[in-house]
């Protein structure tokens, strides 16, 4: 799939993200917008999945370790055809199954329930180990936040993946540099991530998380690694695509009000028109 098509799809996902969070009057737009391009690439162009057969034992697996970005995952799953896009209107609603963090029991296409930071990557290690034990060739992907790297459990999982040489595992760190209380460098620095992962025995790949060609090259590099687990250190902008949300920690976990919503939707619709025309 070319970058133009992917760009249209990810902009549609951004519209669903903002619309559903605005409707729910709560949610996490900043990190959802920073990882949605990567999710679009994964679900439309990278992973071996079939929306009509979401429990195929041989499908590639995905774990959103930064589970608060469920609106991004749900939006991409909806556009990919796992469930109707209208379901996004029920995000966080008491009337429905679209919980605020990914719920594998109720949302089709979700491979693991997440939300408590640091836990998802361990489950992804388990999935990759299960593939090896069962002789299956599926790959496991997991997106983490750069703030999430502060959780000790992440490094337990990183250590374990290297021990078992899980080359069928690809972690992606969404490095937007911000967390709830401000800059990651101020709250609790997690950088340098490249030398940390290298020291732990991982194959380290860098990418621009908003450039589909860069992401393509990164996923190809991960797939060609046969000895080590791979991590894609993905540079992103928190709030990407909505001008007033970009690079602003204040939009980590806040819904836009009606006026902000209108501004955001106008911007995204203009981007969509631009992508479609391009």
């Amino acid at each position: 799939m070319d970058r133009k098509e992917l760009s249209v799809l990810s902009t549609r996902a951004r519209i669903l993200i903002i619309d559903s969070i605005h409707r729910a009057k709560s949610g996490h737009p900043g990190g959802s917008l920073s990882c949605v391009d990567c999710l679009t690439k994964l679900y439309f162009d990278e992973m071996n999945i079939d929306p009509k057969n979401p429990s195929d034992p041989d499908r590639d697996r995905f774990v959103l370790s930064k589970g608060h970005c469920a609106p991004a995952l749900y939006s991409v799953l909806a556009i990919r055809g796992f469930f109707p896009e209208e379901d996004m209107q029920l995000l966080r609603s008491i009337k429905a199954h679209m919980s605020g963090h990914p719920d594998m029991r109720h949302v089709p296409g979700v491979d693991m329930s997440t939300g408590s930071l640091g836990q998802g990557i361990s489950t992804a290690v388990g999935m990759a180990l299960a593939a090896r034990y069962q002789g299956r060739t599926y790959r496991t992907y997991s997106i983490l936040g750069d703030g999430e790297m502060e959780e000790g459990q992440v490094w337990e999982a990183v250590m374990a993946a290297a021990k078992w040489k899980l080359s069928n595992l690809c972690a992606i760190v969404d490095i937007n540099g911000l967390q709830i209380d401000g800059k990651t460098d101020d709250v609790m620095p997690t950088s340098p991530l490249d030398s940390k992962f290298e020291a732990f025995g991982w194959n380290v790949i860098k990418a621009d998380g908003h450039d589909f060609d860069s992401l393509s090259a990164a996923f190809d590099a991960a797939k060609s690694e046969k000895e080590k687990p791979s991590v894609i250190l993905m540079r992103t902008t928190k709030g990407k695509g909505v001008s007033f949300m970009e690079d602003n920690a204040g939009w980590h976990g806040k819904a836009p009000d009606d006026a902000q919503y209108e501004t955001a939707m106008n911007e995204l619709k203009a981007q969509l028109a631009g992508s479609e025309d391009a």
Binding site: R105, S122, G126, Y133, Q134, A157, A160, W164
Partner: protein, 315 residues
């Protein structure tokens, strides 16, 4: 007298005995395989054994991912770490998605002995019981443990299994009509004056207490409550109605474990006095296992004394 064997030893044997029958069974440990007794399985089935190192949170999550892909993982470490350190991983990664992992907590209770309070887990039954949808099993002897392991392999949901460090007498193998079913308690001795509901190694001391009481003309019923959750409500209700008083005995804090579960159930169905005997909301201490148990009143004589006091509360 029955054979003496620790439930952890029986657990390790059961894993090996059941491995061929259940290829989906995999075992994870956190650098304690010689204590949790998974080492034999590790040697016999190296491709099905995953030593996760001293990283219990990660081990718990790995097991969740494996279960999501169709395997049946048993995670093994001390109860203090399984249910304590990794509590939230058990809750959010295993129980919330309803995954079929058995979290095994070895060295439960104060019978750990010499290692002392930091390693004597007296809150695990409570912590695990309070998680929605969790099954909590605490077998009393080697025979019951082996049956529990196979039942849990076949159970497709989140569960917790407590193992004990110290050798205990096997009593269930010769009990009349004994069978094991998750969620079904066992009447090991019938009686009409009081019910002693016990779990884990407190079952044996309760049977001995009933012997002491019988010499005084007190006819005590003894229930083996191996499943703390789901509690066998029918058996407890019958005991409340027929004996009018229940004494619970557990190697656990008196808050939230078997005593808590029985008191909650009886209080809302057929209120009779429920006396909770166990560790009285304090930390454990070092000593030989038998000494520490006795220090907390977990011996036949003290259980009998508690039973006499309990009977006085009958209306």
């Amino acid at each position: 007298m029955g054979d003496m064997k620790a439930t952890r030893a029986a657990y390790g044997e059961a894993l090996c005995e059941l491995a061929e029958k259940y290829p989906q069974l995999v075992v994870l440990d956190a650098d304690l395989s010689s204590a949790t007794m998974t080492k034999t399985f590790a040697a016999q089935y190296p491709d099905r054994f995953f030593n996760c190192g001293i990283a219990e949170a990660n081990m718990t999550g790995i097991a969740a991912g494996m279960a999501a892909c169709g395997l049946k993982p048993f995670t093994d470490t001390f109860a203090i770490f399984a249910a304590g350190r990794a509590y939230e991983q058990v809750r959010n990664s295993i129980a919330y998605p309803g995954l079929g992992v058995t979290v095994v907590g070895s060295h439960g209770g104060v019978s750990v002995g010499e290692d002392g309070a930091t390693h004597q887990m007296i809150e695990d039954l409570s912590l695990m019981r309070t998680i929605p949808g969790m099954t909590v099993v605490n077998p009393c002897d080697a025979n019951e443990m082996k049956l529990a392991v196979e039942a849990l392999i076949n159970y497709d949901g989140p569960s917790y299994l407590r193992l004990g460090r110290s050798p205990v007498e096997t009593v269930t193998d010769t009990a009349d009509g004994y069978s094991f079913e998750i969620g079904k308690g066992v009447t090991l001795r019938d009686g009409k004056d009081i019910t002693i509901a016990a779990t884990g190694l407190c079952v044996q001391m309760s049977l001995k207490a009933a012997e002491i009481l019988s010499q005084e003309g007190i006819d005590a019923r003894v229930l083996d409550i191996h499943t703390i959750k789901p509690l066998d409500g029918d058996l407890i209700l019958k005991a409340a109605k027929e004996t009018g008083v229940i004494l619970t005995v557990e190697e656990h804090n008196v808050i939230g474990g078997l005593g808590g579960a029985v008191a909650e159930y009886v209080g809302s169905t057929f209120p009779v006095p429920v006396i909770r005997h166990g560790v009285n909301d304090e930390f454990g201490r070092s000593g030989k296992a038998a000494e520490v148990l006795s220090y907390f009143g977990l011996d036949p004589e003290t259980v009998a004394a508690k039973a006499r006091e309990a009977i006085k509360l009958k209306r």
